[in-house]
């Protein structure tokens, strides 16, 4: 195999991987940036997205419907959890959230096991995307290109949403000074519920998109949550751009690392994270130390 086609396809692989990681990372960082909550259950929401997506595809036979339904359901569940449980914890220190969401991870994992069983569930790639294209004479699945593209689209959408819309403005304002926003007549609590829902919904999109590639399985949540933390910690908790950089960095390390140093790829990822944290305790683009 020539070097150039190999490099190009591997880079595209890494990009599609980065897109999935970005869906997770930007949701987590959004929630942390606005609410100062470290959502340990983020991987569980990702997993829930994959399972709901599987059911939706089975019921409707349409992947695109699943792609709309799953994030709505997952996001709705997230917002409901914020309303019912997390809201009682504001004013407590940050670790209370970490622990409650850890408990939620256990609960969601078990409920999903009870509802969908222990077997890994395969989601069919939609017919339009199941082909293979040739890039510099190397075969490459279209679905991965679609993933990379959707990562870019969603990234731009969120960016524009935060910059251009009224809700986006409120969210940014809340992250800077929640009391002032509240004093000016906006119910900050609703903004928080919305943000938590949106963050979880993003994880849900990631879950649906990941399902055709990795199958929906009970091991998804722990793997995802650790990777997500790595991304967000590298990029800086609360930084949107940081989560994008983190996702790219981790994805490239994972793809190229597992090819060149299969034994060290996983350790390498954590080493990078530790190094960055030692040099910049707040992460690459984080504000606080």
């Amino acid at each position: 195999m020539d070097v150039l086609p190999f490099l190009v396809t591997q880079c595209l692989n890494a990009l599609s991987q980065a897109a999935l990681l970005f869906f997770l990372g930007c949701g987590l960082t959004l929630i942390f940036g606005i609410m100062r909550i470290v959502n340990f259950a983020h991987g569980a929401f990702f997993m829930l997205g994959a399972y709901v997506g599987w059911s939706a595809v089975r019921l409707t036979g349409n992947f695109w419907l699943a792609l709309i339904a799953a994030p709505l359901l997952v996001g709705g569940f997230g917002a409901a959890f914020e309303l019912g449980i997390l809201r009682r914890l504001y004013g407590r220190d940050g670790h209370a959230f970490l622990m409650v969401t850890f408990g939620l991870t256990l609960v969601m994992g078990e409920v999903i096991r009870l509802l969908w069983g222990v077997e890994a569930l395969q989601v069919q790639i939609p017919a339009a995307l199941s082909d293979i294209v040739f890039i510099l004479d190397e075969p490459f699945p279209i679905y991965r290109l679609f993933l990379a593209g959707s990562g870019i689209v969603v990234g731009l959408t969120i960016w524009q949403f935060l910059e251009r819309t009224r809700l986006g403005l409120l969210i940014r304002a809340t992250s800077q000074n929640a009391e002032m926003v509240h004093a000016l007549g906006t119910d900050v609590r609703l903004v928080r519920s919305a943000v938590f829902g949106i963050g979880c919904g993003l994880a849900g999109i990631g879950g649906v998109l990941a399902a055709p590639m990795v199958t929906a399985s009970l091991g998804m949540a722990p793997n995802a949550v650790i990777d997500t933390f790595v991304i967000v910690i590298i990029g800086g908790m609360g930084s949107f751009l940081g989560s994008m950089i983190g996702a790219l960095l981790v994805a490239f390390v994972q793809v190229f690392g597992s090819y060149y140093f299969p034994d060290l790829a996983m350790a390498f990822m954590y080493l990078i994270m530790l190094t960055i944290l030692v040099v910049r305790p707040g992460g690459l683009l984080g504000k606080e130390a």
Binding site: I85, V100, F102, G103, F229
Partner: protein, 309 residues
Amino acid sequence: MRTTLAVAALLALMPLGLPPYAMTLLTEALIMGLFAMSLDLMVGYARLISFGHAAAYGLGAYTCGNILLHTDIPLPFAVLLSGLFSGTVSIGVAWVCTQATGVSFSMLTLAFAQLLYAVAFKWTDATGASDGLAGIPRRPGPFGTTFFASKIGFYYLTMACLFGGFLFARALVRSPFGAVLRGIRENEAKTLSLGYNTRLYKIAVVAASYMLGGMAGALYAPFAGFANTELLFWLLSGQVLIMVIVGGTGTLVGPILGAAFFLFVQQQLSIYTDSWALFFGVIFIGFVLFAPQGILGLARRGRPTEQHR
């Protein structure tokens, strides 16, 4: 002190009345109790919320496993050595992790534990990779005695470690050193401005915590006869944190009760349902929401609180 002795006497009498399977469970509860108590040193006294305490446990377990498999060192000494090793390694870990504070510290400890987990998967010579170390023996000795290799003897060894560890930890938190730790817990900036090098204190308490946690892991390896990567996994770190919170942070005794409670509930629930984790998650969320002081806090509610906490 009187209560401690009474509890020790009661536990020492247990082998007379309990059937073997209950002794196994009790031994495991004591090991877990030591592990949870070691974490409480960090969480309850210095507000260092480690989300990677499995690192201490796994380090101890793998070290002890290797010592027992490859040398003739008697079991009790192997446990002590493993604890010391774990504590020594943790000085480096703590030096890095205490660069950060708050939630970042939690994440750093998690990263370290995961790094060890990743290494354990690949370092086949020392860890047996995904198969783990199997057939870890209980080496006889010291002085040729085979007492500690027996089921009852191992129970007494575990008990001795737990009580030794408890007395050590209690002496630590009641000393001037412990007073500085509580200063860090309540207001680190103020403690720093009073002239205490808080970072050194934090590193020291992490080392003490890892030493005891390493001993717990070291006991687990010959208890179960194996050591695998599960012992380094983040799930265990989360579970032990649950034990500490549910038991009551900053009490030392509470987390031991929390560990016993955890194992007991897990064992009872698993008789009736496979989904014990579901109930456990709900119980845990309930504790964080409604009883952040934990079991011991609930028991003490209404009574005057002890000021030395």
